[in-house]
């Protein structure tokens, strides 16, 4: 059985009928298949840096207003309106302003910014120039996680090309704008994706979150007004400037307009990047992409990385936009659709995620540092058959003491898989208790399992 077999459902948008793939709207990914897609030459052949020309012809405040009107919302997880973030930067304050691009993509399941930067780094650089014009900044940083050297290479090269062509440096395109862009490689710490931890890290410190207020827009990098934006948010700006806010708003919904990258992974027939209007459903994406792997059915999935509460096959028709996913009890997050089939033990999955949060907890606040540690101990026992009935209430209670009581959102993220898995799969946890242990065979979940077993798998 595949989920595709249960066709129909109540999507509020057209389903695409017989051609669900027609719903796709490649913009950021539109020419990733072209030869040398990462070069300036290829980018310019596809209207690259045209949006910048239009933006530089407008006063900075008009650019901010334009992006605000477009309705673009942050693609890093929280969905905060990008234009509004820019607008918060005080003007005429005499201080330097900074743009920091968050390219520390590390949320488990999330894999959109890295392929974007590998295939088309210039869309980010063009977006950076436009944003810096708008917020009146002469200094931008790209904080790239260190563990992706192929992307670092292409960013170094793209920045070099952009300087050589006059898109960076002094008096860009004769506009009077001076801008330097620094590519900064991180050193392995998930917490640095949190914007204030990222700023501390960029200042050469341990990456620990800061108390807010003051917000980065007032006192960010070097205590100066700073905008921190996700890669995909900034990379979406050139197309909006070039093709217009109305075009952008023609996609998606009123409150969540535009296109975005959905990253399908796990036990699906065809994992990968699918660029579509906000509000598409997982059912539509699976229908067009071939569904779950043959002979299996969807068990649970995350809408936006491991920090967003998991969904089950009940949620196939939830519109994947900020409001739709929120109303269904989760968060759109990074649109990292990790799909697991019935061979996967939910306790194993949650245990591993929790180990991740324990490892990545920065240690600054007690609920997260201690809570994630104890969750790991309890979950490992449960998975190994050493759990006791009271343990389920205990992990629920510990998660409750982390959620909303931690210094930053990492703690909330750690609680999400616990709460949501207990909500939908408590029975499966109970099957692990009292010495019984994990009833699943991990060998059946692997990429190659069905190549060995062929048809010996029951659906």
């Amino acid at each position: 059985m595949t989920v595709a077999a249960e066709h129909g459902g109540a999507s509020r948008r057209e389903t695409g009928g017989d051609h669900p793939e027609k719903l796709l709207t490649p913009v950021l990914s539109a020419f990733w298949d072209q030869p040398a897609s990462w070069t300036l030459e290829t980018y310019r052949r596809h209207e690259g840096y045209e949006g910048l020309r239009k933006a530089l012809a407008m006063p900075p405040d008009d650019v901010i207003a334009y992006i605000k009107d477009s309705g673009l919302r942050g693609r890093g997880g929280a969905g905060f309106p990008t234009g509004m973030k820019w607008q918060f930067i005080p003007q005429g304050d005499g201080k330097p302003h900074y743009l920091v691009v968050n390219a520390d993509e590390s949320e488990p399941g999330t894999c959109k910014d890295i392929p974007l930067l590998f295939a088309n780094p210039h869309s980010l650089i063009e977006g950076i120039v436009i944003a810096c014009h708008a917020i009146r900044s002469n200094h931008a940083f790209i904080y790239l996680r260190g563990e992706v050297v192929p992307v670092l290479r292409r960013l170094h090269e793209a920045v070099r090309e952009a300087y050589a062509a006059g898109f960076l440096g002094k008096n860009i395109l004769g506009s009077g704008l001076d801008l330097d862009v620094i590519v900064h490689a991180g050193a392995g710490a998930y917490i640095c994706g949190e914007e204030t931890a990222l700023l501390d890290s960029l200042e050469g410190r341990r990456g620990q979150p800061r108390l807010r207020p003051p917000f980065p827009a007032v006192a960010g990098l070097y205590a100066c007004p700073t905008v921190v934006n996700n890669v995909e948010s900034i990379a979406s700006v050139p197309a909006i400037m070039n093709r217009g806010k109305d075009w952008f708003r023609s996609m998606g919904s009123e409150k969540s307009p535009g296109f975005t990258l959905y990253s399908l992974s796990g036990h699906v027939a065809n994992p990968g990047q699918y660029e579509a209007p906000l509000g598409i459903t997982l059912r539509q994406l699976l229908d067009m992409s071939g569904g779950m792997r043959r002979g299996h059915r969807l068990k649970f999935w995350t809408p936006g990385g491991s920090s967003t509460p998991m969904f089950t096959d009940e949620h196939l028709d939830v519109p994947l936009d900020y409001e739709g996913v929120g109303a269904a009890g989760s968060m759109l997050g990074t649109k990292a659709l990790q799909c697991f089939d019935e061979t996967t033990c939910v306790v194993r999955a949650v245990t591993r995620w929790t180990e991740f949060y324990a490892h990545e907890s920065c240690g600054k606040c007690t609920p997260c540092r201690e809570g994630t540690y104890w969750l790991v101990q309890l979950l490992r026992d449960i998975e190994a058959g050493k759990g006791r009935p009271g343990d389920l209430d205990k992990i629920d209670d510990i998660a409750d003491n982390i959620n909303g009581k931690s210094f930053c959102a990492l703690g909330d993220g750690a609680a999400s898989p616990i709460f949501s898995s207990l909500k939908y799969f408590r029975e499966e946890y109970e099957q692990h208790l009292n010495g019984r242990g994990c009833p699943f065979d991990p060998a059946r979940s692997t990429l190659w399992a069905d190549n060995d077993a062929h048809l010996g798998v029951k659906a």
Partner: protein, 297 residues
């Protein structure tokens, strides 16, 4: 050169002596690089992460000498630099291999086979997490999500992507690395050593001809939606259409069952991400006290 073996069996709780400096020629060369890095930033301390990558490019890990160098270049204390260097997982604290092989064992990759791959490599290489093979070629570790979930299971070597791995392909990969055979990633440039990689991370672009364009554009999974939208790939067709399971990277499905991770394994044995305290280079009394000793190896 300045190591004092006589002190090694005496534990009087005395404060450590200052780390030895680099030899003058090394110091001069690193200072030139460091000043170039520092000049990029409005605030000098921002150069600390790149400088830690830089000293790692010199010695393969962050030594006390490297920490002293960073502190002197940025007018910080060695305690301040140590605090930062021990926070980030990419800074190694002990002598390690030329090739860092990282197997993703975060949930999605683990479930898709990362656990089996990691077990296979531990078995095959005879090393545990964080350990290096006797020939000094390979350091094995399990890593967290590396933003390539649509290519799961993923193995990274010196932070280049090896996509859609199996226990067999991963075993071949480490055998090739140890035999000195040319190894090319699925996405990324032909492998260089860990030290050379660290230099790029410090902010010095890869100067090798062809490195930037190596392995071409986006990987197949990155293009799948685009191809579908352009009508170049067969789309799903609702109820009656499911495509066959993907084949593995080299289309050589395994004949053997994947090894490792039996259900009855003790929880302590599985590749957890739990953050056990690690030795710092400063607290490791076995550690050679200066770069000279290591370079002499």
């Amino acid at each position: 050169m300045n190591a004092t073996p006589a002190n090694q069996d005496v534990q009087l709780g005395m404060p450590a002596l200052p780390a030895p400096d680099y030899p003058a020629d090394v110091r001069a060369r690193l200072e030139t690089d460091a000043k170039e890095v520092i000049a990029r930033y409005p605030g000098s301390r921002s150069a600390l992460l790149p400088l830690l990558h830089l000293v790692q490019a010199e010695e393969g890990h962050v030594t006390r000498t490297g920490i002293r160098f960073c502190a002197e270049m940025l007018d910080l204390t060695t305690a301040e630099v140590t605090a930062v260097s021990t926070f980030y997982s990419m800074y190694r604290r002990k002598h390690s291999g030329d090739y860092q092989v990282g197997v993703c064992t975060n949930t999605l990759c683990a479930v898709m086979g990362g656990d089996a791959i990691f077990e296979e490599l531990k078995d095959h290489l005879g090393v545990d997490n964080g350990e290096t093979t006797g020939d000094g070629a390979v350091t094995l570790e399990h890593i967290e999500c590396n933003a390539a979930c649509d290519f799961a299971p993923v193995v990274m070597v010196n932070w280049e992507f090896f996509d859609n791995q199996t226990p067999e392909t991963a075993r071949q990969l480490v055998d090739d690395l140890r035999a000195g055979r040319t190894v090319e990633p699925t996405r990324g440039a032909p492998l260089c050593t860990f030290k050379e990689t660290a230099r790029m991370l410090a902010g010095f672009p890869d100067e090798r001809p062809g490195a930037v364009e190596a392995t071409g554009g986006a990987g197949p999974a990155s293009l799948i939606g685009l191809r579908l939208a352009k009508g170049e790939a067969a789309p799903g067709r609702g109820a009656d259409h499911v495509v066959s399971p993907r084949t593995t990277a080299d289309s050589t499905p395994s004949d053997e069952p994947p090894s490792g991770h039996p259900a009855d394994e003790a929880p302590a044995g599985h590749p957890s991400s739990h953050d056990a305290p690690q030795e710092t280079s400063a607290s490791d009394e076995q550690h050679p006290s200066g770069p000279t000793a290591e370079e002499g190896e």
